[in-house]
Amino acid sequence: MIDKRVGSPADAVEGIEDGATVLVGGFGASGVPVELVHALLDRGATDLTVVTNNAGSGETDVAALLRERRVRKIVCSYPRSAGSVWFEERWRAGEVELELVPQGTLSERMRAAAAGLGGFFTPTGADTRLAEGKEVRVIDGRRHVFEEPLPGDVALVKAARADRWGNLVYRTAARNFGPTMAAAAALTVVQVEEFVELGELDPEAIVTPGIFVDRVVRVAAA
């Protein structure tokens, strides 16, 4: 019998090792798996590579990981925001490495990993400094940059509802990176607001099928 539900965020992040590459969902404050990131913090995992669109804000989630010096490297598109104090502090001190990736390329690279591709050519970034050192190929008269897949050891994702197979639906724009990250990691851990019975989710409307999900944990909505 399949039952991917676990009892607590601590159980959900069990086994995540130092040095892991962790995909963290969210766009600004929308769709961030805050409780899972805090469980990872409590677990003590360090030397992490964190792939996430922003770099945290204030004192919570990714910002807390940075504050506590758990992050070796951040791969993201937009680390600078109101409140990205801890990222800026660690970055200025040279304590965290930054790989800046155009947002669509970031998402597409994770999808390439999910899809088993060896990489792709995209015109995004061509002739810019973000393509420095990358292979360039002219395709149909347009300059393209070669981009590599970006897999995670772990994905931390926030969804709205899950069943015991790990099927997921999301809520409004909190969906953002969730479905792609869930598919791109070896271990996918999801926090949801509600568990539902198997068969309750409309099979036409399941956004992330359970095949991509390893553990789900319920966290009361804020």
Binding site: R80, S107, T128, R171
Partner: protein, 220 residues
């Protein structure tokens, strides 16, 4: 003499066709949505997975998850849809968004756009979806002041700031003029009343050409 930026937004709104799928960049360009007349049905796209984005919700009605690219609370119109980030960017990168309006630090006469980095070493660089949009939208419109606050021209022969994308800008709307990017460089289509061609050229680092029928760019 210079247009108010809201007037620039109104001017841009006039060029947005009924039925267009539009992505407005963060900052200034978001002013455009308020200026599109109710006679047009325009579908707004947001990079975080929204089509059919509506205006800001009434105070107290905000959904903290339902935000636009600038992380401001928004609403969803009937007919709107949510989808994941990779699909949102497939729309942007694959030529499905008809039109984008972006801000700029500089635009070159070849249509190069610089709008993401100024090499301010005190702050980390951040690019977001700027490169994806600039490369992928069918039409790239730029909304900007004609010069910087310090009076430096933003329309240049060649960008000195780091590029967002090369050769992508179709049209520039400033507080002084509307200019098309053509194979021969900037072509002035409209300019504000009371400004001479020499004045405009004086505020522009790139060499300007002028359409035969330069129209008056005015507040609406």
């Amino acid at each position: 003499m210079r247009l108010d930026l809201r007037d620039v937004a109104r001017r841009i709104a006039r060029d947005i066709p009924d039925g267009a799928y539009v992505n407005l960049g963060i900052g200034l360009p978001t002013l455009v949505a308020d200026c599109v007349g109710s006679d047009k049905e325009v579908v707004y796209h947001s990079e975080n997975g929204i089509l059919g984005m509506g205006p800001a919700p009434a105070p107290g009605e905000e959904d903290p998850e339902l935000v636009n690219a600038g992380k401001q609370p928004v609403t969803l119109l009937p007919g709107g849809a949510f989808f994941h980030h990779t699909d949102a960017f497939l729309m942007m990168r694959g030529g499905h968004v008809d039109l984008t309006v972006l801000g700029a630090f500089q635009v070159s006469e070849r249509g190069d756009l610089a709008n993401w980095a100024t090499d301010d070493a005190a702050h980390p660089p951040a690019v977001g979806g700027a490169m994806d949009l600039a490369v992928g939208a069918k039409q790239v419109l730029v909304m900007t002041t004609h010069t910087t606050k310090a009076g430096e021209p933003k329309l240049v022969p060649r960008c000195s700031y780091p590029l967002t994308a090369a050769g992508v800008v179709d049209r520039v709307y400033t507080d002084l003029a509307v200019l098309d990017v053509t194979p021969e460089g900037f072509l002035v289509r409209e300019m504000v009343a009371g400004l001479t061609r020499e004045d405009l050229q004086g505020a522009t680092a790139a060499r300007l050409s002028f359409a035969d029928d330069v129209a008056v760019l005015g507040g609406v």
